[in-house]
């Protein structure tokens, strides 16, 4: 086994996903098969190979720090599930 159900539960907590028992069970089997498959990468010697994050060589994209119009508070809040005045409202954070 590449991954256990307990580990799947741990990863779900890291990913902020509340999985049901059944989902955890299914994902354990499926992730195990996928991780066994990706194991084939270990057959390649990659010593000294530079990792690729982007296919096109990129440098920092600098620009002038200029004030430009933005979408505004009302537009930014238009899709909020819950709002109060100019803010997003969420459940109590600090007990």
């Amino acid at each position: 086994m590449k991954i256990t159900k307990a580990e799947v539960g741990h990863v779900a907590r890291l990913a902020r996903l509340e999985l049901t028992e059944e989902e955890q069970e299914t994902f354990t089997g499926q992730m195990d098969a996928i991780l066994a498959y990706v194991e084939k990468l270990n057959g390649l010697d990659t010593a000294g190979i530079i990792p690729t994050a982007h296919a096109v060589p990129m440098e920092n994209a600098f620009r002038e720090d200029e004030v430009v119009p933005s979408i505004g508070v009302d537009n930014a809040l238009a899709n909020a599930p819950d709002r109060v005045e100019g803010f997003f409202r969420v459940p109590k954070v600090i007990e």
Partner: protein
């Protein structure tokens, strides 16, 4: 022109016209954009119950924009896209028009701004007829992970249209849009284009702005056109390509007039056939179509040589680590705070995050977030994510070396024609392996196009893939055009 051909043209419904054909009629004032748009909307109404290509049809807005386009045309301000009815994969933000990414988590999301690619079409007078179905968050190869129902392949309603841009391809095949845009992270434009018998181009990474395109895997995602033929593809690519200050990964290179690349002559063009792609497991009908295509290309003056892309066999494994890692990070934004679904009556913040995400995401999206989170987690980062990034370098070098020998690479798009609905939904790994010939192009960051190249004995379309050097879109369009003009495959219509 004799009388017979005139009759033939008159019988052609407006929804059947390509961009170039419709533009010609609009410019000559033979038809109006309102008439063309009405024709398409009626077509959508007629076939949509069977095809299911759309998530949202924007009939009212479309007729309004079509009327505006007609005004522009009357004033002589007509551009090739003015008044052309187009549709977008539901991954492109459209100001004021619901954009779901085929997910429950965005079921009621109304974007406050437009994606740059769409804005560029809109500013040239294109008419939006609707938003197209796809796999949820573009994660899938069959359009079956959508939270808004299945899309069926217009050539055989029991088959998948391909994915993730399945709606974008099916709408072209079913004549429900003149042209569409899709996105391609591991084959999501080219594979459905192949399965539905249309043209689909994935541009070089950085060629088209992703601003306002809902992110899946940011080092791989690209926007591209899906069209009836290669000329339309060149028009659409030219319209959406170019640097965008709002996407720092877009590349500041001039955009050529891609339609100038459309010539029939391929004399002296060297095409590579990677031996790793012509494997015994290849479907015999796909192999037959490719063999025929190679003969056609020889007749056009192209020269072939066998090449090797030695790390091909590692591409799917690399992709499913890189893409899922990036997805797990990108999809962290869906937390129920600022937009999207929020679970009711959560007791605390973390419970609200976790339950909102559990209720909002479908199984494939959860699976990929889980895999990506695992690959990035403490203790596994080096073994999985970093290792995959190193193998990605080897895969890129395969292509760099190949392009020292040849101008283009010709391959199958998918190992089989479209499979049956439900055939692979219970086996994610088998589903992932169906992208084996398209994924390496995304990892290498270069461009590829799928062009109709034949049909299976069952009557399902088969595409061929041409891969070019980075920013070599003109070369693949030219070779695609020459092939298309020498064959009749793109002229066949799905019986619906």
């Amino acid at each position: 022109m004799n009388d017979l051909s005139l009759i033939g043209e008159d019988e052609m419904e407006l929804y059947e016209l390509t961009i170039c054909e419709l533009h010609d009629k609009l410019k000559k004032r033979e038809v109006s954009s309102v008439e063309a748009t009405r024709s398409l909307l009626a077509r959508i109404e007629a076939v949509e119950p069977r095809v299911g290509a759309y998530i949202t049809v924007t009939a009212e807005e479309a007729l309004k924009s079509a009327a505006e386009a007609d005004k522009l045309i009357a004033e002589g301000k007509s551009d090739i896209l003015t008044g052309i009815p187009v549709a977008l994969k539901d991954i492109f933000l459209t100001k004021g028009i619901r954009t779901t990414c085929a997910s429950r988590i965005l079921a009621n999301f109304i974007p406050p701004y437009d994606a740059t690619a769409w804005l560029k079409l809109k500013e040239r007078g294109a008419v939006l007829v609707g938003k197209l179905n796809q796999d949820e968050f573009a994660m899938g190869s069959s359009c079956e992970t959508s939270a808004f129902g299945k899309t069926r392949n217009p050539w055989n309603l029991e088959c998948i249209p391909g994915g993730s841009s399945g709606g974008s391809a099916a709408a072209i095949a079913a004549r429900q849009a003149t042209a569409t845009l899709g996105t391609d992270t591991g084959g999501s434009i080219r594979q459905p284009a192949s399965h539905c018998g249309c043209v689909g181009l994935k541009p070089t990474y950085g060629r088209v702005s992703r601003y306002g395109v809902i992110a899946y895997a940011s080092s791989l995602d690209q926007v591209g056109p899906m069209t009836r033929d290669v000329a339309d593809c060149a028009v659409m690519l030219g319209a959406v390509a170019g640097f965008d200050p709002k996407d720092s990964t877009s590349v500041n290179l001039p955009v050529p007039d891609y339609t100038q690349a459309l010539v029939r002559d391929l004399k002296g063009v060297k095409i590579g056939l990677p031996k790793e792609y012509f494997i015994p497991g290849l479907d015999p009908d796909v192999k037959h179509a490719l063999d025929q295509a190679i003969e056609t290309y020889r007749g056009l003056g192209a020269e072939f040589r066998e090449i090797t892309l030695p790390h091909t066999d590692y591409a799917v494994a690399t992709y499913y680590l890189v893409a899922t890692a990036e997805a797990s990070s990108n999809l962290a934004r869906y937390d129920g705070v600022r937009f999207g679904h929020r679970a009711k009556e959560a007791k605390g913040l973390v419970e609200m995050f976790s339950r909102s995400r559990d209720e909002g995401f479908g199984p494939e999206v959860k699976r990929r977030i889980m895999l990506g989170t695992y690959a990035l987690s403490s203790g596994y980062y080096d073994a999985y994510y970093l290792k995959a990034q190193k193998v990605r370098t080897l895969i890129m070098h395969d292509f760099i070396r190949a392009f020292e020998e040849v101008d283009l690479i010709l391959t199958p798009v998918a190992p089989t024609p479209a499979f049956r609905l439900g055939e692979k939904t219970n086996d994610p790994l088998q589903m992932y392996l169906s992208d084996i010939f398209t994924i390496p192009v995304n990892l290498a960051g270069t461009c590829g196009i799928s062009v109709p190249a034949g049909f299976s004995r069952e009557g399902l379309p088969i595409g061929l893939q041409l891969v070019g050097r980075p920013f070599g879109e003109e070369a693949i369009l030219r070779a695609a055009y020459a092939f298309e003009q020498a064959t009749e495959w793109h002229k066949r219509k799905a019986a619906l």
